[in-house]
Structures are given as C-alpha cells and as structure tokens.
Symmetry: C2
Subunit: 130 residues, 2 copies
C-alpha cells in the first residue's frame, strides 16, 4: 500500500472500503484529474507546462496535487537536469490506467454539457504524440 | 442549458470548454458521486436513506449536493406525500448515464486500492432491485 507521509497509509484516510468512494478520496476534487488529463492526453511533463492550462490552475494547488499524486503512486518525479536540478513528472501505470475514467468524463460532458469541445476521433485513446 | 439559480447558467461556472473539466465543475468533489452511487446502485430515494451511508456524509453537505444535482438536471425532486409534504429524489436519464463513470471508478479502485470491496458480478450494471 502506498505510503503518504502527510496522511499515513492510504487506508487511514479512506472513508469506507467502497472502491468508488476510495478513488474519490484520492482524485475526488476539481483539479487532480485535470493534471492527469494534461499528462495523459497532452504529454505534459514539466511544472511550467502543467501550470499553463485553460482552467488557470493556481500554483499552490498544482504543487499540492503533484505531491498527492506522487504519494498515491499515480505519477513519478524524476530529475532531468543537474545544476540546478530540475524535475519532470511521468504517469505510472496506475496513472495511465485512469484513461478509461477520463474518457467517460469526456463522453458524459460532450453528451450533456452544451458547447464542450468534442475531441478528435481516437484522441482519448492514444499516448500523446507531439 | 440547465439553469442554476445560485450560479447562473452552467456555462457561467465552467472553467473551460474541456468536457473533462466541465464535468468536474459539476461532480468534481468527494461527495457528489457518492449520492449518485447510492441512488443508482442501492435504489435510495429518500433523504433519510441517503444520509445513512458508510462514509457518514454530513447533513449540510448532503442537502447542498442534492440541490446542486437537481439544478444540474442529474436528479429530480418529487413529492410522494402530502401533509406534511415529503419529497423523494430520482435520477434523470442524465443521472443514469453517470453509470459508466461510476463503474470505471470502481474498476480502478479495485485494481489499485488494497482492501476495497469487489462488487458482485453484474452489480454495477443493473438498476437496483430490492
């Protein structure tokens, strides 16, 4: 079980053992999934890329969500440069496996929220190719 | 477009026209989907049933989320008794169509969060039969 320094083990902060509720304990807020979306669909890896979203994620929220996602094992932080050391973020398999959930969000949004952008055919299925 | 008295039209409170982000603007919190879960999978319709969840949803949060879900057209409130008038809540088709999303939450939760309950085969697919 992933260890989260700030909150103990995952199990300590789950409200119940319902799998739906437990996932919401990790990604159930307005911002977390958007960070995953940008990594999964747009190939973003750098903080400077992730901060640049149409939703204008506040910098303190982005920093917090990256820490939580790393603690939950959804992303990994790796140095890509020395002096000064700089980090990039990559989705783990656990993060990649959020794709079907993100697809369902988009399907429902396109069906029921007027004016939302419809992604090109296949866009949600593929790893990002720049 | 559904009118939300407290917040104007849906479009006024969307952060962007991304369908993923727009859905999170409606259901992106730790509690809203749990209310839908209980109606969809357990057939709950009454406030007294919905307040009785293993996650101990606070009463002010339940009341707020029911209002938001109604404003978003995900549920409908109908009187089922006169003197005193009492209401029940039912999912609309828009609410029913959150089923695939809730299924994906459960799939990911069962795969990645140790100890979560695995629903019986077919449980997530069927309308609730008491």
């Amino acid at each position: 079980m992933a260890k989260n320094k700030a909150y103990g083990t995952e199990k300590d902060c789950l409200r119940s053992m319902c799998p739906v509720s437990s996932v919401l304990d990790i990604v159930g807020d307005k911002w977390t999934i958007l960070v995953v979306r940008d990594m999964l669909l747009l190939g973003k890896r750098l903080y400077s890329e992730l901060i640049d979203s149409p939703e204008n994620i506040p910098t303190n929220i982005l920093a917090d969500r990256l820490k939580r996602l790393e603690a939950a094992g959804v992303i990994e932080k790796q140095p890509y440069q020395d002096k000064p050391v700089r980090y990039e973020y990559r989705l783990t398999q656990k993060g990649e496996d959020l794709r079907p959930l993100i697809k369902e969000l988009a399907v429902w949004g396109n069906k029921y929220i007027e004016g939302t952008m419809v992604p090109p055919e296949g866009f949600m299925d593929k790893p990002y190719q720049p």
